[in-house]
Symmetry: none
Subunit: 242 residues, 2 copies
Amino acid sequence: MAVTILVVEDEPAIQELIALNLKRAGHMVLCADSAQQAKSLINNVLPDLVLLDWMLPDLTGIEFARKLRQEERTKSIPIIMLTARIQENDKIAGLEAGADDYITKPFSPRELIARIKAVLRRRLPEMSDEIIELGGLRLDPTTHRVHVNNDVDPLKTAEVNLGPTEFRLLHYLMAYKERVHTRGQLLDRVWGDHVFIEDRTVDVHIRRLRKILESVGKENLVQTVRGTGYRFSVECSEESIG
Amino acid sequence: MAVTILVVEDEPAIQELIALNLKRAGHMVLCADSAQQAKSLINNVLPDLVLLDWMLPDLTGIEFARKLRQEERTKSIPIIMLTARIQENDKIAGLEAGADDYITKPFSPRELIARIKAVLRRRLPEMSDEIIELGGLRLDPTTHRVHVNNDVDPLKTAEVNLGPTEFRLLHYLMAYKERVHTRGQLLDRVWGDHVFIEDRTVDVHIRRLRKILESVGKENLVQTVRGTGYRFSVECSEESIG
DNA sequence: ACAAATCATTACATTTTTATGACAAAAGTA
DNA sequence: TACTTTTGTCATAAAAATGTAATGATTTGT
């Protein structure tokens, strides 16, 4: 589906150039000359990404970014900063305000598009509401329930009780089964992009998930891939000893 | 078949953005800056759906919607209102005028498209007047009564006394059983869209509902799903492993 | 075998979320 | 009007979940 991008840039020529390129890349574009105008636009439409010129005439770029990060509705919208030259101060301020990426002017349109793609890729995947049935587990997002198929009596299923994070983690792992995820990827996609949490914390949640799954006789579904991360797999990667 | 959508919105940027999104989604789009203009457009072409900004400059949005509902030719056209979060009276007026759905600004274009789809498919089976019998409860919307089946003597049923809000809440939960609803969804669906009520208030009403149900021996029907919301369920989520 | 790196596990303090009772405003009734 | 019911909010208690650090186990490379 179309991605809506808000461009906040006071220089008309640059604004137009950017807008043109974004449109050509298949995006919907909203333009604002100032933070002021950007705010009023955001009052009406929620963009999927904001391209923000840091050197706005009224110098309210930082404030604008911060405002976006504060409000519940907008706090997860990725922000890419456009700066003339990265001054140390800008960088710090930008980080504090929660920018996701920087682009230094002048930049090539191709670079811009590439960065945008990269940032958008990091968004939380919109997990569908489809029931996932895998490895003897059945996860239903709409009822928020996980059941284990009883191997003896297929009609009987036991419910598995998971905490919110364990549920999301399992959902994600099952949705992207058989694929290894680094701790960083899991943090980005299960916890959310703008969280600062120790990588090791993922271990603990994996542990909790495993513990619960073990208690219902599902042992080897969540596997460790040493040096990389974790994986949900139905294939048994154990007794492959030669 | 192409669906024709009339967009009534005075802000040019937003109008254009919406129009572009709709076009991209494969719809025919008609645009109007004012209720005035919309009326004359409708005289020529009959749209399949109307997107109506409630805050038109001439403040004739309400009147416009009402007019649509009055005239035979247009009275069954679904109306989606675009509203700012603040105006509370709008809700009443909107309901009276017969809007089918609301979208509160700021909204994401994705959300907009999704809602349009939903309305067009007549997705939401408006709460019917059918009697719902579930988990030992019998709820009759027409008589506005709830009965509990007596487990001992099936012929005897006790009546449960619920307040208006509790009744609607239970009705909704039973109509969409087994599914988790966030507090926001419940506020939208049971209280009405964009009402200014604290999320936590839902807790209190759930509490009241539970209290009443407990008093007639129905304990685990209304369940908490931590981190998400509530659910009406016949399956017991208790004796679960884990 | 040894040291380094990586992962597992446990315990615990903190934070977040939910439950519950009380209260006053609002709405409805007599 | 006086009285009852309903309803939204708050304060606080209770419960659950979460992140981190510390420690132990396992693997890996040399």
